[in-house]
């Protein structure tokens, strides 16, 4: 059985965040956690998490290219635990491999955004949230990879232990959408509801109220794509692959010479003229001076919420929340477009 293992830059031993932009590479044999898989790993693929996130299409193309040179029987990705970018990369590579008829299994925590991003194409084995759970995670991956790679029938989720796969695929049917809609309309009148799309599950989470806002540090967070003029970090106008934080601690307000909107989802002329329309720093400062809030956090957290995938947005939200908590921020004003 030919096995290929995918790791990110960190688990491949290439370093921390500074190495997150390493492009895809192929390494002979097993490295890092791959040695603990209990499988004969032919070669390992590696990519920096940030590189993958910011260059998904070309990263996948390169990685699929390696796979095509020596086709494996199964691709094992991760485990990524709770690492959002790593889980996303595992899921998207696994999805692309599965679409190319290479069975793929990935390990990650059940709330990792990669679960969504796999779109049902990858067998996701649930793991713990941290590397402490490495041993049981590797055992699970090995078990399912062995079944997949040998061509055996995979059992149902409750037996084989993977998260339930829900994949939506396109199909041509006999009737047009119009014919089906009219039939559904007549059915509704008769009391029966015919639906082809089940409701999406959307979590609504209520945070605890702040005890004393006048003492709290409040951060400004936005998906309006408000960035320093010149777009130094190359934000995309849609399908964002990154978020950034920019210093605003010494500013009373944003001005059009210092900031601009990078976003294709709304008419940016008014925001370009006065960026406080999308990030209300002027109003926030006023409240700070008046003592209505304790302090405005000295960084702006920004991304572009236009056609950005839900999985990617979940990833951003988790990372931004961690950064806010580390900075002692009690609440955020989030401006959406």
């Amino acid at each position: 059985m030919k096995v290929v293992h995918y790791l990110n830059h960190f688990f491949a031993g290439r370093g921390g965040e500074a190495s997150a932009r390493i492009p895809p590479e192929r390494i002979d044999g097993a490295i890092g956690p791959g040695a603990g898989l209990g499988l004969d790993v032919d070669y390992t693929l590696m990519c920096g998490d940030d590189y993958f996130a910011e260059n998904e299409d070309s990263a996948i193309e390169a990685l699929l290219g390696y796979l095509a040179e020596e086709l494996p029987d199964v691709l094992v990705c991760g485990p990524a635990f709770a690492a959002g970018r790593y889980g996303y990369a595992c899921a998207r590579l696994g999805r692309a491999a599965a679409m190319a008829d290479i069975p793929a299994v990935a390990g990650m925590a059940p709330d990792n955004p990669g679960v969504l991003a796999s779109e049902g194409w990858v067998y996701i084995m649930p793991t713990g949230s941290t590397v402490v759970a490495m041993d049981p995670a590797l055992k699970k991956l090995t078990q399912l990879a062995t079944v997949l790679g040998s061509g055996e029938q995979v059992g149902p989720p409750e037996q084989a232990g993977y998260l339930t796969l829900q994949r939506r695929v396109n199909q041509l049917v006999a009737q047009t959408g119009a014919e089906r809609a009219i039939a559904a309309a007549l059915s509704l009148i008769g009391g029966g509801a015919v639906t082809e799309i089940e409701p999406s599950h959307i979590d609504f989470i209520a945070a605890d109220p702040i005890a004393d806002v006048s003492k709290a540090t409040i951060a400004l967070v936005t998906e309006s794509g408000c960035v320093p003029r010149g777009n130094p970090d190359g934000f995309r106008t849609h399908d964002a692959r990154s978020w950034h934080r920019y210093p605003i601690g010494n500013l009373e307000r944003l001005d059009s010479e210092g900031f601009e909107p990078i976003h294709a989802g709304y008419d940016g002329r008014f925001a370009a003229d006065n960026p406080n329309r999308i990030v209300p720093l002027d109003a926030a400062r006023s409240m700070e001076r008046q003592g209505d809030v304790g302090h405005i956090h000295d960084e702006l957290f920004t991304t572009t919420g236009n056609n950005t995938s839900v999985a990617m947005a979940v990833n951003f939200g988790q990372e931004i929340a961690e950064a806010l908590l580390s900075a002692g921020v009690a609440a955020a004003v989030f401006t959406a477009t």
Partner: protein
Amino acid sequence: MTSCEESALTYSWLMSEPAPLDGNQDTRRVPPLRLRQWQIDDVVEGAGTAVDAGTLIIDRIGLEGALSDRYPAVGSVGIDLVKPGDPVRVNGVLDAVAPSYKPNAHREKRGTGITHRLNGVNLLSVCRIEPDPGRESPDGDSILDFGGPAARYSPFSAQNAVIVTFSPPKGVTTSAAALDTEVRDATHWLANELVAVVKGTPDTEAVYRLEKAPGKRSRIGVVIETGSEGPLLDTYLEGTPLSEVAPTVIDPRAIIDGALTNGAYDYAGLRHPTALYQRSTLLQTLLEGHGDRFDFAGTVLALAYLNNLDDKRRAADRAAELVEDMHADVVIVASFQSGNSHSDTMLVIDACAARAIPAVGIIAETGHGLLDHSEAARSLISAGDEDALVPGWGPDAIFGERLLLDGTPADTARPFPIVAHLAAVSQLGDTRLRAVTT
């Protein structure tokens, strides 16, 4: 009659009066719409434009010259002909228009009287229009494959095509709106000319009436959501941007008769090209079934992509109010584009539910499902998953723009998401695509 001609009509002629309180529909003496159609099985180049025994003959050089002369802002014009199955890709498609002509336009308003139409052929306009400074280009490549795996998805791949490529002169300052108006006017003029030459007996005549028929039947209303966000992202009702008039009731026969023109060029797969309004399967099926299986209560044009939640709620409430005024027992809501328009669709469904009018939504999914949902949305028809990849295919020839938006050659064999293929995930209900769970 084309949209470019001086018209004595104002859009108010097109609006149905609200149904009288007794529920009778359209008791006025309104002439029916008689759609006389000639089936076109082939398109060829010839000495003079004509229709002969199912063949549309195009005087290519004559028409190219006429277009350039009448509409100088569009620059040079190239006309190409494509048949279903040809190994051809058309790149940079703006709109598809069904060739139509009203021989009595001077005295018959749209939606009534006689209209001549060619079936089996569409006019495809191609032009790269640069957005005005400070505005973004519409998103996404716009391709139409007549061969290969994507050909089965777009309703236009199965029909003949007359492709008109406009190449505006460089260095000339023309606003995007002005150039787009010229391109649309030129396209509709040509769509008119192709049919004006038709003589003889049509192959079929469909007669659309909306008078109240005896007996009681369930009344089905329709809400068509559209976008009207400004130049290159607009929809026009008799030349007026819909943002100035919607939500509004409109006689569905007027839509079939060409009252709506597409000028919204985002995401080709989700686009409502003009021809989909003209040939609307949903509206034609409801009109044909009117007075038999059900009554067609009427049509509301509503706006999606309004800028804030208050505007969205107000527009949804007004659309639902209009649906209620037409005494609909149930409404079909056709969504538009994607993303935050999922919220618009759900708000309309909610507003109708608040008036005890259940709704069916026709909606395209992203790879992750819908981006909004409502408890009232118990009946949704899938138009397909817009993010699904279609296997790659390299055409033998490219018509239209040579390069994709990212600057790479358009004859690439790489896979595209289905949303790049013109009208492949149309939410007007014309395709046979749906997404299923595996």
